[in-house]
Amino acid sequence: MFKAIDTLEPGYIRQPMDLLWQQISPLYAADEDQVLRELMPLAEPHGDELTSIEARATRLIEQVRADDGAIHMIDALLLEYSLDTREGILLMCLAEALMRIPDTDTADALIRDKLSIADWKRHLSQSESLLVNASTWGLLLTGKVVTLDEREDGTPSGVINRLVNRLSEPVIRKVMQQAMKIMGHQFVLGRDMPEATKRGREYRERGYTYSFDMLGEAALTAADATKYYTDYTRAIDHVGNLPDIGSSPRPSVSIKLSALHPRYEVLQEARVMEELAERVFLLIRRARPLNVALTIDAEEADRLELSLKLFEKLYRSQETLGWDGLGLVVQAYSKRALPVLTWLAALSLDVGDRIPVRLVKGAYWDSEIKVCQQRGLSGYPVYTRKEATDVAYLACARFLLGEHIRGLIWPQFASHNAHTVASIMTLAKHADFEFQRLHGMGDALYDQVLDTAGVTVRIYAPVGNHKDLLPYLVRRLLENGANSSFVHRLVDQRCPISDLIQHPWQVLHSRDTLHNPNIPLPEAIFGAERNASKGPNILIESQWLPFSEKVGECLEQCWQADPIIDGRATPGQALHSDVRSPANRDILVGQVTYADHAQTIAAIDAAERFLPVWQSTSVTERTAPLRRLADLLEQHMEELVALCHQEAGKTIQDSIDEVREAVDFCRYYPARAEALYEEHLELGTLSGDTAHWQRQGRGIFVCISPWNFPLAIFLGQISAALVTGNCVIAKPAEQTSLIAARAIELMLQAGIPGGAIQFLPGEGTTVGAALTSDPRIAGVAFTGSTETAQRINRSLSRRECEPATLIAETGGQNAMIVDSTALPEQVVKDAVLSGFASAGQRCSALRVLCVQNDIADRIIELLKGAMAELTLGDPALLSTDIGPVIDEQAQSSLLEHIARMKEHAKVLAQTPMSGCTKRGMYVPPTAIEISRIDQIGREQFGPIIHVLRYSARHLDQLIDQINAAGYGLTLGIHSRNERTAAHIEARARVGNTYINRNQIGAVVGVQPFGGQGLSGTGPKAGGPYYLPRFTRLIPVDKA
């Protein structure tokens, strides 16, 4: 474990650099308490530090509060409309979306959506600010006006009211847009560099300096990256030619790597280290002669290690050698922050140039927590308490201010917290550092610092037009508007100063646990019911390297699948077949022996023999081996991932997700089964008595699974049938028999009796047909095409016996509806993922992207650009985004569809194929513009997105069109208008609707999955109503 206290020793950073590097990655998701126990001694105030810090902080706060100009009107507004009020949230949402909406109807609808549901009245006269009270009146009136055109039940009201509404809407819209611009003005220095420097001149004259940042989020396309690059070059040129002003140090420029390259990702490390590096070199070559320092901004935790590798390459290059101007940002909320600083110090020592390092607390905390929970990671890369981040910040500060670091790193402390500022000033025994603050925040605080401390204060100032500021603005609003934020409390006179000057070390020390018990670890989000499945983070070196090494070893394996009857593999006399990888037909993955008719009958006989035993086995004895199976699957993750690559052509993350889903099924259904069988079934009768019933498995269940989820759905069906007391005959898809066979082996190893599970690899026409025509079969769980489900249904119905239960999950013609309030970049990211991930071979995959006319051109442009950046290839490679389709038949059918559509529709874009795809079953991701949904015909199960424009006025007709297709599986909605989203969701006849996110990857127990109409019979897999369909109720004689 990393010893934090050792970093204060001068010799620590003199260790070999690779040793220091190795300290970084393992801390990614390290135990939070352990990491904090290490850091606490560095943050703990010693001697008279505590009293000194408190005195300084108190002085600062008193001075700020005494300053009449300290509270900006925005501060007052945020104080009144804090983010713990519904009104505050609504205002923030409006700020986020309003200005990007091109059409007035949709803009007005959004205003109506946000303003009409809040209680503005209670904010009246609550603030001392005239502006806030005036705004409240405005919002109150606006809220009233925008609701005039609806009756209580939501139906349109009379003509007069509508007229009032129509007349007032343009005014309201203008007022709201103006209000948003005022907010933007608060946090953005200027729309372009001349405006920014003009506006910043006054501050420079007072001694401040600037680091200019070009507004804009991550580039999705090469064109956007080029635009941002050009913005940066202009900014550098402009800053480089600024005159010196008084004592103000030279301004610098901050750059965001994700804005400079559309694939700044660990998965594309080679491109980052070449293409992105080259682009930054160009900026360095431009900036250095002009004496414009560059700072590389920090982004998401997953990119930290990549950013350091890139930084090292840039920093060690000839272009940078001898220059103190290339710096970077380190986020204190990261568990890896301190080892990163030690590595940077060692790097500086090695090369000889001082590195400017901006220490921030970190701005992506909420998304870091969410992503880790979604991906089932082993822990969080950030601290879960705010005070823990503050402690980490002070620990890093003590290191940075150490005498042994002086001259190696130029610390730039960015904070708006008076206590943090006072702490830095107390800890510092020299003046070789600077403070940084954001434009529009902490003015009064830093005016005091500038006057008294004699330390440089640099203002981080975003520059750009209003359209680009929205995501930035939201982050600032979140930072300022939260009740708990220091900035918020600083201007809130009701908050006692004593609360503001509490040392975070003391606060954290007083907690029962160092971590936040209100934020469970990713594996604990389902509480006591079950553990969530785990997966490695393939973007983190310390997790990826050992994982990939083991996967690599497994890729050498050759697998064998035979029918397994009564727990024994029985090759028999039937057809042996070679299994070849869809990614490369030259690769032999293994051999499979298909079951013959005699084996099929033998399997049914075996199941029939064992059924009474299994039905009388207690539910807990049935569930225990499935839970053991879940653990075994996690233990064999690497082998199963290798199998998914080789046999199913799945990419790395897809393969991990596949295993995770299987694990989740094997834990969820046992938990549900135990609850189901605990129910006391005492039911009334028509004669007024009560009767006792109990659940029992239906009998022998046939599970017929698809190749696209060869492990997850395979085991999902089987585990549901087994835990409810059915004996199972499993028939996997022909294409993925090897994975299925391996799963059955693990199932037997976990303790499922051989009589309970029979395994019959084979073709549908032989094995499947023989099974579904046998009268001993009580039920079938099937996932696959609608046509096959119909065949199974017919086969079952031809038997002269009680009808069998058929649970069928079938196809979809899944749409995503995007209105003009949506964020285009997010839409395209989600559309690409929904349509092309897993080569589009998911039941839930996006097939029809429906875009409101007003933003369609922009969305299509982004979609084309994003598709151009995708990589097709070997699914076992980290850099591969999209693997092959399953087989030749699928490939030719999809290519035929594309060829056919070329004649009747417009192909918008197609991802280029590389040479390495020649030996595999690849289909290029393709976007096709259509004018009607029925142009598509039947479902195309591959990487093809059809784009359909629609007019906002015809939204309901669009929903009718989607419903009329008859399928009803998934639907995506992108809209910031919650009423619009709710309206679409309610009207669409689909099983799973996803709002403002992608529409794939349903999680067991979280998003029960299954459709209606042509898409399936229900009940939904992974949901609370699934298991009862595998059971029947039988009367119990209580006498």
């Binding site: 028509l686 998003q1007 229900g1018 949901g1023």
Partner: protein, 233 residues
């Protein structure tokens, strides 16, 4: 033959409205019929069965919140499947027919009531239900169209007969031969004791599930999450 023949040209919109009214509204509406149910030999049994079914249907009104990662909400709720054909064969009883009709209606489905059994009683039931507010486009009594033909209606989603067990394979076969969606067969084969109708799983055969996932961070939900990081526990 089309469904419009029975349900009217604006059937889709009528179904949508009925379905969106919710279980609570429908149960309340249907409960009003209890006092006026047309008399039959098993009237008392009807008065036991129907309230029980409506009570169960009322419980289906709730939206289930599902646990999951922070920053998104996941909800599950139930909705009507679509057009339901309810009929009785010779052995059918009024109570079982009523059970199937009330089940289908309470769950939000349009009902086509047909068959040879208890025709007069069925006619009076339909009249009553129309009188208490069930829309005409939601409940229709068939003419003398044979059941075999009704089972081929293109938009049929489920068939809920009251019949004998031995009749089921034939119904199942006819439904399986159709094109399009897999029509659910939800029978009651115990016309006297209604053992299937009384079972807790029965009503679930009349509904379909809908899952709604919202990325709440896109509309301000991250503010709540950020507050969590400052919680003092």
């Amino acid at each position: 033959m089309t469904d419009h023949l029975f349900f009217g040209a604006d059937h889709a919109a009528v179904f949508e409205n009925w379905n969106r009214r919710g279980f609570a509204y429908r149960c309340k509406l249907l409960r009003a019929a209890l006092d006026q149910l047309p008399l039959a030999g098993d009237h008392e049994e009807q008065l036991r069965l129907i309230p029980l079914l409506l009570d169960r249907a009322l419980h289906m009104d709730r939206v289930v919140s599902l646990p999951g990662p922070t920053g998104e909400s996941n909800e599950l709720y139930l909705s009507g499947r679509g057009d339901a054909l309810v009929f009785g064969t010779e052995s059918a009883s009024c109570v079982a027919l009523a059970g199937q009709v009330f089940s289908a209606l309470a769950c939000g489905n349009p009902v086509l009531l047909g068959g040879a059994a208890e025709q007069e009683w069925c006619s009076r039931l339909v009249t009553l239900l129309h009188q208490i507010g069930v829309p005409r486009g939601i409940l229709t009594l068939t003419d003398d169209t044979p059941i075999e033909a009704l089972m081929q209606l293109p938009h049929l989603a489920l068939v809920a007969p009251v019949c004998q067990g031995r009749e089921l394979p034939s119904f199942q076969r006819q439904l399986a031969e159709r094109q399009g969606l897999l029509v659910q067969l939800v029978p009651e084969t115990d016309a006297v004791r209604c053992t299937t109708l009384l079972q807790p799983d029965h009503l679930h055969r009349f509904v379909t599930e809908k899952t709604r996932t919202i990325n709440t961070t896109a509309v301000g939900g991250n503010a709540t999450l950020l507050e969590l990081g400052s919680s003092a526990a």
